[in-house]
Amino acid sequence: MALRYEYAVETEDLAKYYVMGPVTVRALDGVSVKIRRSEYLSIMGPSGSGKTTFFNMVGGLDRPTRGKVFIDEVDIASLDAYELAWLRAKKIGYIFQTFNLIPVLTALENVTLPMVFTGVEREERLRRAREMLTRVGLGERLDHKPGELSGGQQQRVAIARALVNDPVIVLADEPTGNLDLHTGLEIINLLKTLNTEKKVTIINATHDLKMIDVSDRIFWLRDGKIERIETRAEVAVKEVE
């Protein structure tokens, strides 16, 4: 049994500035939050509020201008390239608005890819990928290329890929952004089910209000700052009022 930390993610005064000539864009400006294990968290905010920037910083995909990110109580700025790659391969699963599947690989091969980097044997890789794809409802589509799948199906492949290594955290950036209402809802519910079943922490950047219903907490982001933090109950009460 691995050590269990209370917080999967902690940020301390996290900031990212983009300097473009005379203009400095404060994409993220002093965000300090704690995200518990197994929590389903949504980062809500209008376009340009810094959601993707937060996603990139927490995911170890880009370096902050200021502040710190702790994953399982480890400051990710202290990781070398080798450890950072391991963090991305094993501890974090990423889901993107544009799915980002490898176009020439089949659904099955796409899902096996993260296990290549964590050194899982070929047979075991295939077995787990098949199992995971079946779990997300694509057991019949294993050998299809992304181009032969609908948007919703591609996002299911991406979800299977994000979860197949049993990560601590799944980071999703507008996972329903390219999907119609109905398909979006299916994806939201799938993420919620996996969150409950696998106890995986889900951090969801979105401006899709449908997400509120499944979120444990909601961080409202505006101009790179946390405006307020609400639990689902608090949001629900407000709706009634």
Binding site: L61, A85, R88, N100, V116
Partner: protein, 211 residues
């Protein structure tokens, strides 16, 4: 972190990934390979023809002919290189997004570099092989039809494969095996710069790139 933690991407995985990538992007591979095949076959054709003629008519065909041949060979290699650099550049840039994704899944810079260099190596080997055999065959058959003694021509031409004459650069180059090695080197050099730039991209930079 404990000892067993750490990303892996053994050479065998890199190799099969590159091979699959070539197979499944065969159109792109053909474009890259076409310039290699053309350049190397032209080079081999010139040098094989030159060798046959100089053996048949004696080495006295003169410095001018040799100079002319070398000049043509250089042109052939230049054309071939420009074509390869161009298609390598395109095949790397159109995969920026894929590189970003791979990095999110645990790929390190060296792994990305490995994938592209192995692809270049394979393309150089296959393209160079086809080019050398084609150039040599065309030159041999051509001479056999137009010159006096086909058997003699075939013997001269066949001997090129085993001849490693290091004293004369032109003779050395006339060996089709050297032409294949040259092809691999050119392909690797052409891929090196774009692959290095791609490998160094941060995941976010690579992902932002839309084709």
């Amino acid at each position: 972190m404990s000892g067993e933690e750490g990303v892996k991407f053994p050479l065998s995985e890199a190799f099969s990934f590159s091979l699959e990538s070539i197979k499944r992007r065969f159109g792109r591979a053909l474009v890259t390979m076409a310039s290699i095949v053309l350049g190397i076959s032209f080079l081999t054709f010139l040098l094989t023809t030159g060798r046959i003629v100089s053996v048949l008519y004696g080495e006295g065909s003169g410095v001018a002919v040799q100079f002319y041949q070398l000049w043509m060979a250089v042109i052939a290699l230049l054309i071939c290189s420009v074509g390869i650099v161009n298609s390598m550049l395109m095949s790397v840039t159109e995969r920026y997004k894929e590189i970003g994704t791979m990095k999110c899944l645990g790929a390190m810079n060296t792994h990305v570099l490995e994938i592209f260099l192995i692809e270049a190596l394979l393309l150089g080997l296959i393209g160079g092989g086809i080019g050398a055999v084609a150039g040599w065959t065309i030159a041999t058959v051509w001479q056999a039809f137009t010159q006096a003694s086909p058997i003699n021509i075939f013997m001269v031409s066949a001997s090129l494969w085993t001849e490693f004459n290091v004293t004369n650069p032109l003779l050395l180059l006339a060996n089709p095996l050297i032409a294949i090695a040259l092809s691999v080197i050119i392909a690797l050099l052409a891929a090196l710069a774009p692959a290095y730039i791609a490998a160094k991209l941060s995941p976010t930079e690579a992902l932002r790139y839309e084709v």
